[in-house]
Each structure stands twice: as structure tokens, then as C-alpha cells.
Symmetry: C2
Subunit: 170 residues, 2 copies
């Protein structure tokens, strides 16, 4: 039987020093660039986080396709990383850790993207709270996150990904 | 009303010189590397094409994630490019041209991928023939393509993308 997972009692204290959002954003961006070569090649930036919405940005030039607009794979990668980053931030804010993976995703490309690629992820607050409670009680979180990329005031890309977090085994 | 699109009468003759499959594969790979910086960063190779199945490969190292396995965005990009490449090959074989874009996609990640990423796209032959006839009669093709990535004999990734081809306007 799977052991009931408990956060280490001092986890929040240890991580308490980095609940400053700007510091968390820098750490997230450093993680992307250091550990995911494609994120570095895209020039991704963790742009802003207000406690609810994470925005990530990538410049047009390294992310172009044969038509001179944004490459479908860059748009997907930006979305999947923004969803991953949102989950990472939510864990860090609570002093939790875990392995975050994406299970299934779907993406709709409605308009070609020109200029910088800017992605936003706004998680459903109550689903997230239930998920985090699940992580603390059974060691696993499963949540669906939606990320979007707009061009001007038009929706260009809609992404939905199912993320799974596994708490570390002790 | 949209004009009925016809291939230029000499299109097949002009392109006839490159129906050699190895030559087409080289041209596809050159296009990817030259026009899509992320494809170059991934180190993608157009590996084989037997007239039915296109296989594309990318090395593990530039496509790794924070866990040391393949990044979800690299796996998606490899799949979306293999589907795009399959469509491109089918057009070239028939002396047709067109703008190929992906509309919607979904991807399932079943197993972590370690080692090289190898993707295969096997289009449904009859759906493809109908699509190509549609392209020649109304100037537009819409087709759903499935691409897969295996690890050993296990399916690791399943991707389905809807591709749209617009014939050039005259």
C-alpha cells in the first residue's frame, strides 16, 4: 500500500525565504534555461506573476516557422511551460515539492501569431486548492490547466493540459 | 466566390526532378533547419521515408527536461513537424505546392522518453487521396494525421493533428 505522504514539518520554514514573487519568477526562469535546452533556445522569460496569473514571453525571431509567423511547436512549448511554471509556483508558495509532469494536452491554433509570443495561465482557484489538498493527503495531484496566447485583443491559441504532481517519496 | 484552383500545367514537370525520396528527405530536413530555428535547436533529422511512413529523429541531449527525460515541448514539436513533413512530401510527390498549417492537435504522453526521440507518421492512404483531390478541385485540403513515438516496443506518445493546406492563389 502506498504510504501516506506528509510534507516535512520544516519545509515551509526552509522555503519561506523565497515566497517573494519576483524571486520565485527569477528562480523559475533560471530553472527553465538551465534544465530545458529548448526553453533556452526559445528565449523564454518568466514575465509576471501576481499570485493568480503567470505570464511567460518568448521573442518572435527564434520561434518563427517557414511562414515567418510563430512555430506551432514553440507556441505549444510556451503553453506547456507556462502551465508547468504555474504548478511549480503554487507548490513553492506552499513550501511543497514534487515531480510535475504533463499527461495529455490539446491545443487549438485559431490565428497566426506575429511579434512576441505571450502566454498566460490562470488556474481555477478552487480546483487548485482541492488538488493541493490531495497532494498533501495522498501524495498526488492531478489538475487541468488552461493557457492562452492572444494577438492584440484576439485569442490566437488555446491550450489545455493535464498536469500530474507526484510528491517525493521518503 | 473562391476561384477554382488548378495546378500549373508544368508543375509536375518542374518538380519531377526531385521525386527521388532520398533527395526529398534532404530537402525537407534543409527546410526545417533553415526556416524553423527551434527545429535546428532540436537537431531534428528527416530519417526515412518509404512512400508511406515518414520517420524523424532528434537526439536526447538538446531535448531533455528537468527530469533528464524528453521535454514535452520537444516531443510535440517533433510530432507536429513529422505530420507537416508527411504532408509536404505528399504534395511534392504529386508536383503540388501549398501553405501547410496545423489547426488543432492533441497529444498523450504515456511513458517518459529516454534516448533518441523517433517519431513516425503513417497517414491513412484513402483519406490522403481524397484530401489531395479536394486540394486540386477546391484549393484546400484538411486532413487529420497521427504521429507516434515509441520507447522500445511500447507506445510513449500519441499525437493527432489536423493539418490544412491552402493552394497558392493565382
Amino acid at each position: 500500500m502506498r504510504e501516506r505522504w506528509q510534507p516535512r514539518p520544516n519545509a515551509r520554514a526552509i522555503l519561506g525565504a523565497v515566497i517573494d514573487r519576483a524571486e520565485l519568477l527569477r528562480e523559475l526562469e533560471t530553472t527553465w534555461h538551465r534544465d530545458i535546452p529548448l526553453a533556452a533556445a526559445m528565449g523564454i522569460a518568466a514575465e509576471s506573476y501576481d499570485g493568480a496569473v503567470l505570464a511567460a514571453r518568448a521573442p518572435a525571431q527564434p520561434n518563427r516557422n517557414v511562414h515567418g509567423t510563430a512555430f506551432a511547436g514553440s507556441l505549444f512549448s510556451l503553453c506547456v511551460l507556462t502551465g508547468w511554471g504555474t504548478t511549480w509556483l503554487k507548490l513553492r508558495e506552499r513550501g511543497l515539492t514534487g515531480m510535475i509532469v504533463v499527461a495529455d494536452s490539446r491545443i487549438q491554433y485559431r490565428k497566426a501569431v506575429t511579434g512576441d509570443l505571450v502566454c498566460r495561465c490562470t488556474p481555477d482557484a478552487s480546483a487548485l486548492e482541492s488538488g493541493l489538498a490531495e497532494l498533501q493527503s495522498v501524495g498526488r495531484l492531478r489538475i487541468e490547466l488552461t493557457c492562452t496566447i492572444d494577438v492584440g485583443d484576439k485569442r490566437a491559441v488555446s491550450f489545455t493540459g493535464t498536469y500530474v504532481v507526484h510528491a517525493p517519496k521518503h
